[in-house]
C-alpha cells in the first residue's frame, strides 16, 4: 500500500510539474509570440501558405530532441533529414514547394526540366542549368551528380542510407563504389553517362516509373569528389544549396549560414529567406516544447509532434491551438497478421481478429484523432496514387470504430475455433504508443475468446527480431504491431516492401506477413514498368484490395502529429512530400532585421 500511494504521489507530482512548466510557458508564450505575426489558426498551414512573405533575414531556430542520423546526403534516412537536406544539397529534380498533396509534384531543380525518357522507359536524360555552384564557387557538373550517386555503392562506408538508385542502376555490374573504383576519375559506374559537363544520362536495366521519385531523394544529390571525406562527410557536407555549414557537432550544435556563392538565378525552388539557421539540441522533450511555446524557438526539427503535456495544454487553449497544425505524416500504423503462425494461416481466423478489434480503442492508444490520427481503413493512405480512403472492406470506421463481435464470432466458427484461440502479440518496447496499442488489442480480442500474450522485444533490435522470419516463427508472433512510412509517395514506395513476396528478407525483413502472392508480385512488375502514373495507381489500388481481402493487415491509424508553428514563421505550410512536415526550405522568419 505505501508503495502505491508513493507512486500515486509521484505521478500526480509529475503532472503538476509539467502542468506548471507548460502553464507558465503558455503565459509568456502568448506575449512573446505576439511580437511577430499572429496565429493563423489551427491547421492553417495544412492546405495553404501561412504568412506568405519574401522578406529576408533573421535566424530560424529549430529545436531537436534527436539529431540527424547523418547529414551526408547519401546516408541520411530520417524524414526530417530529407526535408532539411534541401538547405545545402540540390537534386536534378525535387518536390514542388507547395502545400499539402501539391508538394508531391516533381519539378526540376539542378536540371532544366524533368527527364526526357526514352528507350521504353529505360533511359533518362537531364541537362543541368548553368550557374549552379558549390560553396567554393566551382560549378556543379554532371560528373559531380554521377559521383554523388555512385557513393551509395560503397555500402561499407556510406552506410544507412536508401539504396533505391543502387537497386535500379547497378545492372549486374557489381560496381564496388568510388572508393574502390580503379578508374582514375572514380566514375566507373556504367549505367550513368556524362557526355559533357552538363548532361547526365541514366540507363536502367528495367523501366521503373518511380525512378524520378528516387532521384528526388537526397540520395540523388551531387557530391564534389575533391571534397568527399568518405565516412566523415556527414560531419561537414560541402554545400551547393543556399546555406553552408558554420558549425556542426552531433547532438550539440548546428549552425547554417548563407552560402554567398549560391546563385539564386540558378535555383527556382529555394527562396532562402533567413540569414541563419540554428538547431537547439535538447534531451528533455518537455523542455523543448516549453521553448517552442515560449517563443525561444520556432519549430521542431524532428516534427514528431508535441509531447502529451504540451498537447493537452495547447488543445485546451484556442489561442495556442491556432499556432498548431495537425498534418498526416504519411505513416500508417498497423498490425501484421502472420499466416505462418497457426491458426492465422486460416483467413477466417485473421478476419476474426480484424472484426474483434476495437479500432476506437487502438486509435485512443495512439493518442486519439488529433495526436494519433484517423482510423485506418486500408493500407494505402491519402495522397498515394490509387488510394481510396473510403475503401473500408471490414467496416472499421462504421459504428465509430467499435468491434463487430457477431462477425468475429462467425469467422471464428468458420475457422474451426469457435471458442477462440491463443497467440502472441509482438511489440517494440521503446514505443509507448505501440505498447498501448498492443494492450488495447489484447483487451478487445479477449472479448471473443482470443487470448494473447504481449511480447515486448528490444526495439533497437527490430531488424534482428521481427525482421527475421525464422525468429517470428520460432517465437510464434501471430500479430506484430508496427508502423511504416514510405520513402516516396507511390504504391511502390509504400506497399512493395510490405507485400511483395520478393522483398521477404532473411534479416531486416519488412514483409512480416510474408505475403508471396504471384498475382500481387506480377501487378507490382506492371505498375513499376509503366511511366503512366494513373495506370500504376490503378494497379496499386488493386494490390491494396487483394491485401485487404486476404486479411494480412489490420490498419490502426493514418498517423497524425500535432506540431507547433511559431507565429514568427513565414511561408509555412506542411508538405505531404516530406511526410506532413513543414517544408523547411521555404520557411522565413518575421521581424527579421
Amino acid at each position: 500500500m505505501p508503495q502505491r500511494s508513493t507512486r500515486f504521489t509521484l505521478a500526480a507530482g509529475s503532472a503538476v510539474a509539467l502542468a506548471a512548466l507548460l502553464g507558465t510557458a503558455a503565459c509568456s508564450g502568448a506575449s512573446g509570440g505576439s511580437g511577430g505575426g499572429t496565429a493563423a489558426g489551427f491547421n492553417a498551414a495544412a492546405a495553404s501558405v501561412v504568412h506568405p512573405s519574401t522578406a529576408k533575414g533573421g535566424t530560424l531556430r529549430f529545436t531537436a530532441a534527436q539529431d540527424f542520423d547523418s547529414l551526408d546526403p547519401q546516408r541520411g534516412y530520417y524524414g526530417f533529414m530529407w526535408d532539411f537536406a534541401r538547405y545545402y544539397t540540390r537534386q536534378l529534380i525535387t518536390y514542388d514547394t507547395k502545400p499539402g498533396n501539391a508538394s508531391l509534384k516533381l519539378v526540376p531543380d539542378l536540371a532544366t526540366s524533368l527527364a526526357q525518357v526514352t528507350d521504353g522507359g529505360r533511359t533518362y536524360t537531364y541537362h543541368l542549368r548553368s550557374g549552379a555552384t558549390w560553396e567554393d564557387g566551382s560549378p556543379v557538373t554532371a560528373q559531380d551528380v554521377k559521383y554523388g550517386i555512385e557513393r551509395t555503392w560503397a555500402q561499407d562506408v556510406i552506410t544507412g542510407g536508401p539504396i533505391w538508385l543502387m537497386q535500379n542502376l547497378d545492372n549486374s555490374q557489381k560496381y564496388p563504389g568510388p572508393y574502390k573504383d580503379p578508374a582514375p576519375d572514380k566514375l566507373g559506374l556504367k549505367s550513368i553517362d556524362t557526355p559533357d559537363d552538363h548532361t547526365v544520362v541514366f540507363h536502367l536495366a528495367k523501366p521503373n516509373g518511380d525512378f524520378e521519385q528516387m532521384l528526388a531523394l537526397p540520395e540523388g544529390s551531387p557530391v564534389k569528389r575533391s571534397k568527399d571525406t568518405g565516412a566523415k562527410y556527414g560531419l561537414r557536407p560541402f554545400s551547393d544549396g543556399p546555406y553552408k555549414f558554420l558549425a556542426y557537432q552531433p547532438n550539440k550544435t548546428l549552425v547554417l549560414v548563407r552560402n554567398d556563392k549560391w546563385n539564386k538565378a540558378s535555383d527556382p525552388i529555394r527562396p532562402a529567406l533567413p540569414d541563419r539557421i540554428e538547431v537547439v539540441y535538447g534531451s528533455n522533450a518537455d523542455d523543448l516544447d516549453s521553448k517552442l511555446l515560449n517563443g525561444e524557438a520556432d519549430l521542431d526539427l524532428n516534427q514528431t509532434g508535441l509531447q502529451q503535456a504540451a498537447r493537452v495544454k495547447v488543445l485546451r487553449d484556442p489561442r495556442l491551438k491556432a499556432s498548431t497544425d495537425d498534418p498526416t505524416t504519411g505513416y500508417i500504423r498497423y498490425v501484421s497478421l502472420v499466416p505462418a503462425v497457426k491458426p492465422l494461416d486460416n483467413i477466417h481466423c485473421r478476419k476474426a481478429v480484424i472484426y474483434a478489434t476495437d479500432h476506437k480503442a487502438l486509435q485512443t492508444a495512439r493518442g486519439g484523432p488529433i495526436a494519433g490520427g484517423d482510423i485506418g481503413t486500408n493500407m494505402l493512405p491519402d495522397g498515394v496514387k490509387g488510394a481510396d480512403t473510403k475503401y473500408d472492406p471490414y467496416g472499421l470506421t462504421s459504428n465509430g470504430g467499435a468491434p463487430d463481435i457477431a462477425r468475429a464470432k462467425s469467422e471464428l466458427q468458420q475457422c474451426g475455433k469457435p471458442g477462440g484461440f491463443s497467440t502472441t502479440i509482438a511489440v517494440r518496447n521503446n514505443k509507448s504508443a505501440e505498447v498501448a496499442s498492443a494492450v488495447a488489442l489484447q483487451a478487445s480480442l479477449k472479448a471473443v475468446g482470443i487470448t494473447t500474450q504481449i511480447d515486448q522485444y528490444d526495439g533497437a533490435q527490430t531488424p534482428n527480431i521481427i525482421g527475421v522470419p525464422n525468429v517470428v516463427h520460432k517465437k510464434g508472433y501471430g500479430l506484430i504491431v508496427m508502423g511504416w512510412g514510405p520513402d516516396f509517395y507511390t504504391g511502390q514506395g509504400f506497399l512493395q516492401p510490405l507485400v511483395d513476396g520478393r522483398f521477404i528478407l532473411p534479416n531486416g525483413n519488412n514483409n512480416y506477413s510474408e505475403i508471396n502472392d504471384p498475382a500481387i508480385n506480377g501487378e507490382f512488375d506492371q505498375a513499376i514498368a509503366t511511366t503512366d502514373a494513373d495506370k500504376a495507381g490503378q494497379l496499386y489500388s488493386d494490390i491494396n484490395h487483394r491485401v485487404m481481402q486476404d486479411a494480412y493487415y489490420l490498419p490502426i491509424v493514418y498517423d497524425k502529429a500535432l506540431v507547433w508553428r511559431s507565429d514568427r514563421l513565414t511561408n509555412a505550410y506542411t508538405a505531404t512530400s516530406y511526410s506532413g512536415k513543414y517544408d523547411f526550405v521555404s520557411l522565413g522568419v518575421e521581424g527579421a532585421k
Binding site: 509529475s14 510539474a17 507558465t24 534516412y77 561499407d156 534482428n464
Partner: protein
C-alpha cells in the same frame, strides 16, 4: 607511501582493463543472446546481408572479439590506423576510435563532454556538502526539535523525489515563470560568472537530492559520534560545547561522509545522466545514453572508461584523504 601509490596505480590500470573487458563482453554477448547484430542497425532499412557484412568489416566487428579487444587496447596505448579504401586515417594515442554513428573521433568527443559533466558534478558537490552537512549537524544537535523534523521531512522528500520531477519543477518556476535563470553551459575559462549562472539550476536540483542523503547520513553519524566516549572525555575537560562539536565530533562525522562522497563524485563524473537529460546539458551522461541506444561501441567504451577511471580515482583520493583524516589508517 610511494610503493603504495605505485601499487594503487597498477590496480587502477588493471581495473580499467577489467572494465573495458566487461564492457566488451556485454556489448558482444548480450546482442548475441537476443539474436541481434549491431551492424544491422547501421544499415539502412533496405540493406541486404552483403551490405551488413561490409559494415561489419568496416567497423571491425568481423574479427574475433578478443582481437577487437586487443586492437582497442593497442589503439589506446599506441594509436592506430583506420583504412577505408585508399583513405588512411591515423588516430593518435589515446585512440578510442571513431563513433560508429556520427564518425566523430571519440577522444575529442570525451574531452569536449567532460568539462560539462565535471562542472555539474563539482558545483553540485560543493553545494550539497555545505548544505547537507550543515543541515545534518544542526538536526543532530537539535534532535527532535521542529527544525530537525522539518529538515528530515524535507530530506525525505529530496531523497524520494525523482530528479526529473524536481528538475522540471525548477525549470517551470525559475526559468519559465520568474525568468531568473536559464540553463546553459559556458566554459569556466570563458566566463566564470556565466558558467556558474548557467549551471546554478542543475546544481541546486542535483544538490537537493544529494544534500538530502548527506543530511540524513550526517545526522545519523553525528548522533552516533555524540554518543562516543571520547566526546564525553572532551566535555569532561571543560571544553565548551561548540568546541566539542567542531573539533571533536565533526571531524569524526566527516569520515563516513568522505567515503560516500568519493563514490558519489566518481559516479557523478561518470555521468549525471538524469540531470543532464532534464536540463539538456551535453555531458558524458548524455553521450552514454545516446551511445547505448545507438549501440555505438567506441563511445560506450570511452564513456565507460572515463567513468570507471573517475570512480577509481575518486576512491583512491578518498583513501589518501582517509589516511590524512584518520591516523589509524596506514597506507600499505
Amino acid at each position: 607511501m610511494l610503493a603504495y601509490l605505485v601499487r594503487r596505480l597498477v590496480a587502477v590500470v588493471v581495473m580499467l582493463l577489467v572494465v573495458t573487458l566487461v564492457t566488451f563482453g556485454i556489448f558482444f554477448l548480450v546482442p548475441k543472446l537476443t539474436g541481434g547484430d549491431p551492424a544491422a542497425l547501421f544499415a539502412g532499412r533496405q540493406a541486404d546481408p552483403a551490405a551488413i557484412a561490409g559494415i561489419r568489416r568496416k567497423l571491425g566487428l568481423d574479427a574475433p572479439v578478443i582481437v577487437q579487444y586487443a586492437r582497442f587496447i593497442w589503439g589506446l596505448v599506441a594509436g592506430r590506423d583506420y583504412a577505408s579504401g585508399a583513405d588512411v586515417t591515423h588516430c593518435a594515442a589515446p585512440c578510442f576510435g571513431y563513433s560508429f554513428k556520427t564518425e566523430q573521433p571519440v577522444w575529442p568527443l570525451l574531452i569536449d563532454r567532460f568539462p560539462v559533466t565535471f562542472s555539474l558534478a563539482i558545483g553540485a558537490c560543493v553545494l550539497w556538502l555545505v548544505v547537507g552537512v550543515a543541515t545534518g549537524v544542526l538536526s543532530a544537535l537539535r534532535r527532535g526539535s521542529l527544525w530537525d523534523r522539518a529538515a528530515m521531512a524535507t530530506a525525505l522528500a529530496g531523497v524520494s523525489l525523482p530528479i526529473y520531477f524536481t528538475g522540471m519543477l525548477a525549470l517551470a518556476v525559475f526559468t519559465y515563470k520568474l525568468h531568473w535563470l536559464t540553463v546553459s553551459y559556458v566554459p569556466f575559462t570563458q566566463n566564470p560568472l556565466a558558467w556558474a549562472r548557467g549551471l546554478l539550476l542543475p546544481w541546486i536540483v542535483l544538490a537537493f537530492l544529494y544534500a538530502a542523503m548527506y543530511a540524513r547520513l550526517t545526522r545519523a553519524t553525528m548522533l552516533e559520534i555524540l554518543g562516543e566516549d571520547y566526546i564525553r572525555t572532551a566535555r569532561a575537560k571543560g571544553l565548551a560545547e561548540p568546541v566539542v562539536i567542531r573539533r571533536h565530533a565533526l571531524r569524526a562525522t566527516l569520515t563516513p561522509v568522505l567515503t560516500i562522497l568519493g563514490m558519489d563524485l566518481g559516479a557523478l563524473v561518470g555521468g549525471a545522466i538524469l540531470t543532464e537529460t532534464t536540463f539538456s546539458l551535453q555531458g558524458l551522461g548524455q553521450a552514454a545514453v545516446r551511445a547505448i541506444s545507438d549501440q555505438d561501441l567506441p563511445v560506450i567504451l570511452g564513456v565507460t572508461m572515463i567513468a570507471a577511471f573517475f570512480v577509481i580515482a575518486a576512491n583512491l583520493v578518498v583513501d589518501l584523504l582517509y589516511a590524512v583524516v584518520d591516523p589509524r589508517v596506514r597506507l600499505a
